[in-house]
Assembly symmetry: C2
Homo-oligomer: 382 residues x 2
């Protein structure tokens, strides 16, 4: 019996976006190429021995309740260590099942089809996927708006620290301007901050949450400081908004993974996270520096790139006219993957840019990969 | 600075329902009362030693990829053991971050505000929460529909095995009638099946998925056969529908918890699940039998109850006119909690019913709890 499934889908479904990055990973075996594409952390940063030990530790400490259903808001020991580390009151902390869920649930409770989300650019693809899936009207934060449009602005989305994809950090004056804009538009700010702990040089800049706690939803993640397998993140935000997120989350998945939360709490609270971060930052600083020096060596004149103070990415700009989307298949055929920069722009512009990840690629592949990429770009420029 | 947050919430937010069960747990300390309220599994059924051992086992077997981001569709070893155990092709299996997420994502991709979901009654509260949060128009499967309404029917929701809350199992002729109805309405079936492995007597009845695989989304759960802490479930369904769930799930949380999936795969594949199930079923059969005999002893004449062949619940019917919602505070004051049955009916009717859970309560509390409950009911009847 054949069925017409299309008839049954919701009106949101045609707006669902496939992640071009995840589609790349469906098609190729990572082990067979030099991939600068994904945003995976280096497996050497995972605290493997801790992770083997932690289930026993938390079972001993808390008993079998760590295997039961848990609180929707998050396990108290985890909320307590987050509160202590970041100086945020317990009532302003919601644990999420990944910071992607944080993005999704903020959009879910705030956005109706046609509502406007403002974003800085370039911006995170996974956020655009969530926004589009709710049929939001996503605009550049700098775009002019009519009076009617202003009333439909729900929040301003930004990754101020070590932006994905550009690697750049927003300086304080720009953060203040952004808060001013949010006040003017009377909208919230969603501050996506998965990389903030990964700073390799320079000084921390105050979070938007610290500048405007009454209107900021600050999203954090354990994926880059513990392990992505755990799908754990958090939201700091004003109580009236967290209250709706709480009720929404009951219906989404009841509670975040419980044993994982206790393990994360123990890892963070007992100092193991800080010890591991020292080693993680060293690893990534070294990789970033190596990538910067290899780019100097292999990129033809006319190519420029960002010099991130932290995070996992840097962003290449080729001469105008060179199209990284068009070059992609040729690069893959020569065993090199990247993500075309235009995917991170709302209008698909900036086709002469690309995102390179330096955290995940096997170190021995970095040089041959960038040499090949340099040749491909030089060929296209010729 | 005070903000008008209400102005910013989506039009769905006023339809969000708080779970009355989860609200009970916010207010009382479970250890201080005799609670027949929640749907928690018994902690003695958790395979504690396995859970301590499994991270080391899967890290040894698969390497550090078990700590990395994973496939959106679910980790291959887990999909393989699910496929082998239940005889479902790999392409028809999506792993979910809890079976609550299964309910939510099915609703998300199928339902627009005003669309109709048909349900058997009484039915699972967490499903009603998801349905209402998308502003579905939820109707009894037996209610008459106009021609226009028929076109808006998206799916039929049912818990055929050991229903939550009634504990009852749908016999085969009724399952066939339900499939016929779905064919007539040309809609899908969402078969919610978290308890199917927990049968204490009698014979398995074929799943709706086996009767109508082309139109059934079958939801399974590890919460009752491994541990709820893991937030892992699965969907079996037709590929064109799973494809949309897959794309939606990228934006929801990228992938289910990865280490947990490998642990579940190892637990299920290596035979430990079956060994643990023997002991789990024995434990619950004993508890069910004890509750049935205590009800015989302590309930006044005129009270009846279901005799479930499996699952975690039974359902009490008091004489018409006795209101379990009104009795609730008095019961709680005397240290006994239950869930009023009317919460599980769309129209809030059946106020003379209640759900009792027999899996979670400490065994020594079962007798005093039911004795007190019997006294309260007898008092109300007097």
């Amino acid at each position: 019996m054949t069925m017409d499934y299309d008839r049954l889908f919701s009106a949101d479904v045609p707006s669902f976006m496939r992640s071009p990055v995840r589609e790349i990973f469906r098609k190729v075996k990572l082990s067979e190429i030099c991939s600068f594409a994904g945003g995976y952390p280096a497996t050497v940063t995972f605290p493997v021995e801790e992770i083997k030990r932690l289930p026993g530790v938390v079972l001993e400490k808390y008993g079998t309740s760590v295997l039961q259903y848990g609180s929707t808001q998050g396990a108290m020991p985890l909320r307590e260590v987050l509160s202590a580390r970041y100086g945020v009151p317990l009532a302003n902390i919601q644990v999420t099942t990944s910071s992607q869920q944080g993005i999704d649930v903020c959009t879910r409770i705030l956005v109706d089809p046609g509502d406007i989300i403002l974003t800085t650019e370039p911006t995170y693809l996974g956020a655009l996927q969530s926004f589009k899936a709710y049929r939001a009207d996503v605009r550049s934060w700098e775009a002019p708006l009519t009076e009617e449009e202003r009333r439909r602005v729900k929040f301003l989305y930004v990754i101020p620290d070590f932006n994905n994809p550009s690697g750049e950090t927003m300086p304080l004056p720009e953060r203040k301007a952004l808060v001013d804009l949010a006040r003017k538009r009377d909208c919230l700010i969603v501050e996506d901050s998965p990389y903030r702990e990964l700073r390799y040089e320079g000084e921390d800049v105050p979070t938007l949450y610290s500048l405007a706690p009454e209107r900021t939803l600050h999203l954090g993640s354990f994926s880059k400081i513990f392990a992505p397998a755990f799908r754990l993140g958090w939201i700091f935000g004003p109580e009236p908004v967290l209250e709706q997120i709480f009720v929404c989350k009951q219906a989404l998945d009841l509670c975040p993974p419980v044993l994982d939360q206790y393990m994360a709490a123990e890892f963070m609270g007992a100092g193991a996270l800080d010890a591991n971060l020292v080693h993680t930052r060293e690893e990534y600083r070294r990789r970033r520096d190596r990538m910067l020096s290899l780019l100097e060596r292999y990129m033809p004149e006319g190519v420029t790139w960002t010099r991130p103070e932290g995070g996992l990415f840097l962003f290449l700009t080729l001469p105008v006219g060179i199209d990284t989307v068009a070059l992609y298949d040729a690069a893959l055929a020569r065993g090199v993957a990247y993500v075309a920069g235009s995917f991170f722009f709302l209008d698909g512009s900036h086709r002469n840019t690309m995102r390179l990840n330096f955290s995940f690629i096997a170190e021995e592949k970095m040089e041959p990969g960038l040499r090949t990429l340099g040749e491909i770009i030089a060929g296209a420029m010729a």
